[in-house]
């Protein structure tokens, strides 16, 4: 995932303000990695997974991303650990486990 730095207000002076406070860079908030909200994380059992992509579809955070092999795996930079994917998986291939203390 792109590791660009999140632009914040305290870096800017009044002269840096855009006219009308417009934001030109689309999607610039994605530099904020909400994965650190998590208390649980999803674990995928690839044996059970049927690659139906329902977890990808139902993730409120767009944090589940397709892999090259055709699975759908949570991007831990953004996954908030809500557990919807585990709940809706038709074959129960996803389990939520406690985040470890760092």
């Amino acid at each position: 995932m792109a590791k660009k730095k999140l632009k914040v207000g305290s870096d800017l002076t009044w002269k840096d303000m855009e006219v009308g406070n417009i934001v030109r860079e689309a999607g610039s908030a994605s530099a904020r990695r909400t994965g650190d909200w998590r208390t649980e994380r999803p674990i995928l059992d690839k044996e059970k997974c049927t690659k139906c992509a329902l977890c990808w579809l139902d993730c409120p955070d767009a944090a589940i991303k397709p892999t090259a092999e055709g699975y759908y795996v949570a991007d831990l930079d953004y996954c908030k650990g809500c557990g919807i994917c585990a709940e809706i998986c038709p074959v129960k291939a996803i389990t939520m486990i406690e985040e470890e203390e760092k």
Binding site: L6, S28, A29, L57, A62, E87, M96
Partner: protein, 317 residues
């Protein structure tokens, strides 16, 4: 995955995310999911006018933005008016040759607060004037962003911070205002209800609303774990239960003709939907019965309209 699409069952869903990951919606937010799906149905050629509320706050903290499509937020109650101005301006600018012809859909995005209460006037005006735009109401059934205060879309018996359940109160004492019916009363080409529990139905309806010529209104139930006090992993399931209990029926009204999209042969009891939600925790059996009766009657009324004003039932996705 196929190119820019993900195959989900028989459907192809755009891979592109129009609301960037890293937004600050709560964990398990049903509204975030509904928005994500709606945006996939809309694509790039939109100009979104957004009311103050959860969506606006979670996606637009200066100096950055989650939005990857043109987007404007001004105030709380004027979304439909802003879209009216944008729609009229684009039309006339293209007519006068001041900008190249381009198919751009004007979309209003607002919560139940910014629609049902403070925003109702602007919505009514825009619908009456027949602007060619799509209004999406993301209904999490209270003023969630400011702290779970009641709205006229809060269901009967739900506890909110300004209509809390207590010794002398059941919480919300009025029945949920029927916004889709208010939209239908404006005789617009397309009105629909949707839920993130039925993602393909939701996306189809948003697409349909965008393509219709004239005003379209889609009312989207948005389960809110924070305000509904439900487990964060149940937002999609609650979105399904709301439909399966007929608390939130999925239907469309096209030029006055009603069509029920999902008609379960046997409805689940409302209790199944209410029980996982802390906002209903205080309800007594008699009160739940009252709700069940009301839901049953309302559903019968809806089905009578379907029978009376043309259209058949069809299975949902």
């Amino acid at each position: 995955m196929e190119g820019n699409f993900v195959k989900v069952g028989k459907n192809r869903v755009p891979l592109e995310e129009f609301v960037a990951e890293g937004h600050s919606f709560c964990t398990g937010c049903g509204e975030a999911l509904a928005l994500r799906l709606a945006c996939k149905a809309l694509g790039r050629n939109v100009i979104i006018a957004n009311a103050t509320g959860c969506i606006e706050i979670c996606t637009s903290p200066l100096p950055v933005t989650s939005w990857r499509v043109p987007w404007i937020h001004t105030l709380f109650e004027n979304t439909a008016a802003v879209s009216s101005g944008t729609e009229a301006a684009l039309k006339v600018l293209m007519k006068k040759g001041k900008m190249p012809q381009k198919d751009i859909t004007c979309v209003s995005v607002a919560g139940d607060g910014g629609t049902s209460d403070i925003g109702l006037q602007a919505l009514s005006g825009a619908l009456e004037r027949r602007h060619n735009f799509l209004y999406l109401c993301f209904d999490n059934e209270a003023y969630m962003n400011t702290g779970i205060q009641r709205s006229s879309a809060t269901p009967y018996g739900a506890s909110t911070t300004t209509a809390p359940a207590g010794k002398f109160s059941i919480g919300q004492t009025s029945w949920k205002k029927n916004l889709p019916e208010i939209a239908v009363a404006h005789s617009i080409p397309y009105v629909a209800t949707a839920s993130p529990g039925y993602p393909f139905d939701l996306m189809n309806k948003v697409k349909k609303g965008a393509e219709v010529n004239g005003p379209a209104y889609v009312h989207i139930l948005s389960p809110c774990p924070t305000g509904w006090r439900s487990p964060s992993n149940l937002s999609v399931k609650l979105g399904r239960l709301a439909v399966e209990t007929a608390i939130f029926p999925l239907y469309e009204v096209e030029n006055g003709r009603y069509k029920l999209n999902v008609d379960p042969p046997k409805l689940k009891p409302v209790e199944e939907y209410l029980k996982p939600q802390g906002r209903f925790r205080h309800l007594l059996e008699a009160e739940i019965k009252e709700i069940q009766q009301h839901v049953t009657e309302e559903y019968a009324r809806l089905k009578a309209k379907v029978a009376c004003f043309g259209g058949s039932t069809s299975s949902g996705n």
